[in-house]
Symmetry: C2
């Protein structure tokens, strides 16, 4: 159990501590024969590299912080996966926190990451996050990239989906199919992604000269339970809506289940479009129309930007939007809606 350290390998291999260090790091300064000898001694003794010690001297912990706002959302799970793969590829480790939409937890997580000396941070800010909340990251000088949500007026690297355009596109299509009474269902307000999606929705309605139902948006937790919980209220709107753009596919699932429970069949009696294109969406009955914005693209773009920053890229902050494309499926078919 006692940890083996460099000096012990040095002793065993009959060289100095420096040589061992250099050899194990694969330095070209060390003769191949010596390096081999050292490596043998190391594995003989069961040596485990101590990254903590190295980091102290190095000022690089080879650790990346990932702060999610809601990782039970499958979209984020998929995104994290691609982030993780890339981090693994470059031999770093991932310090993970799910802030679960709690500002307090988020700020504590940031503090934790700073104390651990992470090389960089990927952050999806919780709702109500202000510029001031994130200023500490700039002060500390840690490279960081925001994903999925940005903070208006806060100049920082950002990668997310094209939410305004996505929502706009979906609503335009719904209108083209004959819908007029359309609502927006689900999502946590006070996040940029929600505001942007709602904004795109609104713009499409306004541009088409269609009056917004009242109320025209319904907030909820981002989950099936959230979507399901709003069905009743939506159905009470008069004149009754015929279509809904949902904040996410999970919300859409819940919403559709709720509709069915009331004998209203999505894709026949009511059009539903989601956001995310989860793998389940095309399996759903009816298959769910949705705005696809591959989480793996967002994730790999975000981590790539961060890694570039770690490599010393200090160009001005960039904003990257990943295109959202409308996948038309049966939940958006005309059915008998157009005529009603």
């Amino acid at each position: 159990m006692k940890k083996v350290k460099l000096s012990e390998i040095a002793l065993a291999a009959g060289v100095s501590r420096s040589t061992v260090s250099l050899a194990l790091r694969g330095s070209p300064l060390i003769a191949k024969s010596t390096a081999e000898k050292v490596r043998e001694a190391a594995s003989e003794l069961g040596y485990v590299y101590n990254r903590t010690a190295a980091a102290l001297r190095n000022r690089r912990t080879h650790t990346i912080g990932l702060i999610e706002a809601n990782f039970k959302n499958p979209f984020f799970a998929a995104m994290s996966e691609s982030v993780e793969r890339e981090i693994e590829r470059v031999g770093k480790a991932l310090l993970f926190v799910d802030s679960a939409e709690s500002l307090e937890r988020q700020q504590k997580a940031i503090q934790l990451m700073l104390e651990h000396g992470v090389d960089g941070i990927l952050l999806c800010p919780v709702r109500h996050t202000t510029k001031e909340n994130l200023e500490i990251l700039k002060k500390a000088g840690v490279p960081f990239v925001l994903f999925s949500r940005y903070i208006p007026g806060f100049d920082a690297d950002y990668v997310g989906g094209a939410n305004v355009e996505g929502a706009y596109q979906a609503v335009c299509r719904m209108i083209q199919l004959g819908h007029k009474r359309i609502v927006f269902v689900g999502g946590e307000p006070y996040t940029s992604s929600w505001l942007d999606r709602v904004g795109g929705f609104r713009r499409a309605m306004v541009e088409a000269g269609i009056e917004l139902p009242s109320p025209w948006y319904f907030c909820s937790e981002v989950s099936a339970a959230g979507g399901s919980s709003r069905v009743e209220e939506v159905l009470e709107v008069r004149p009754m809506p015929t279509a809904a753009l949902c904040y996410s596919d999970t919300v859409a699932f819940g919403f559709m289940m709720g509709l069915e429970r009331r004998g209203i069949f999505p894709g026949r009696d009511f059009a539903v479009v989601g956001f995310d294109d989860l793998p389940e969406s095309r399996l759903w009955r009816p298959p769910l129309a949705t705005l696809a914005c591959p989480p793996t693209r967002v994730g790999s773009m975000a981590i790539q930007m961060l890694l570039e920053r770690l490599d010393g890229d200090n160009t001005p902050p960039r904003r990257v939007e990943i295109q959202s494309i409308l996948i038309e499926r049966d939940s958006l078919s005309i059915g008998n809606i157009g005529k009603s």
Copy 2:
């Protein structure tokens, strides 16, 4: 961005480095007035505690490693959440890796965690993991707890669901409801959880003197897509099955969607039971009967056991099984199955 360190605070506060360290750690040795002065100077200078440096001396990184085998599965996401909460509560950080059922990734993750000097590890071993693969953890002397899956013959702390009993219970109930031709759908073979669920299934059938369909189990990825992909094969079994126990709720969802696509209605034409009791399950149409084994219980039990080990508990390894209870819902109603 130059990091502020203890010596600089010491200078500013007119005390020694030792005093600063002691004061910031809240040692009772330091006069309250001095401590206050130090704390002020520290925040004045924007000091950030360097856990890496402390860890080097301490031999405690205050870091816990979590190695998941499949965290896109919502069950594990929920479990991780409770683990995370507890880790946050005790002021530690979480080093996270999703091995995604890859033995190679898992072993690299273990190595990574050892190099980072995590205080302890929570591990859900991937399929095909052998005793030998995990021996390194014992050699290294890191406390660790297996969750959800154990390795037969490998003596280690373990927390998981009561899989044998759960499956047994569900199948008995199906039989009691009149089903005879029952199959097991989904899951990755060569994991203890799969083997146990399949084992419980088999036992119930054998004890009831019912012949197993041929084939009687169908493996798949643990996801809706996985469940959906097996529907065709299941429906080709002759005589045709009337009920399925699915490896997980996600598999059950996919399976049910596949059935419906073929005009077979779960809960009316075919009984389906899942495992996990996800929040969506009761919203499903029909609501999904399932074996509930709260992921938060598994998670908090696992982390609690680990923390006890960190506190020096060196009693023999424990095996904890969290009870699975059958939640009966419409997907398991009789419908016109019993008579067919």
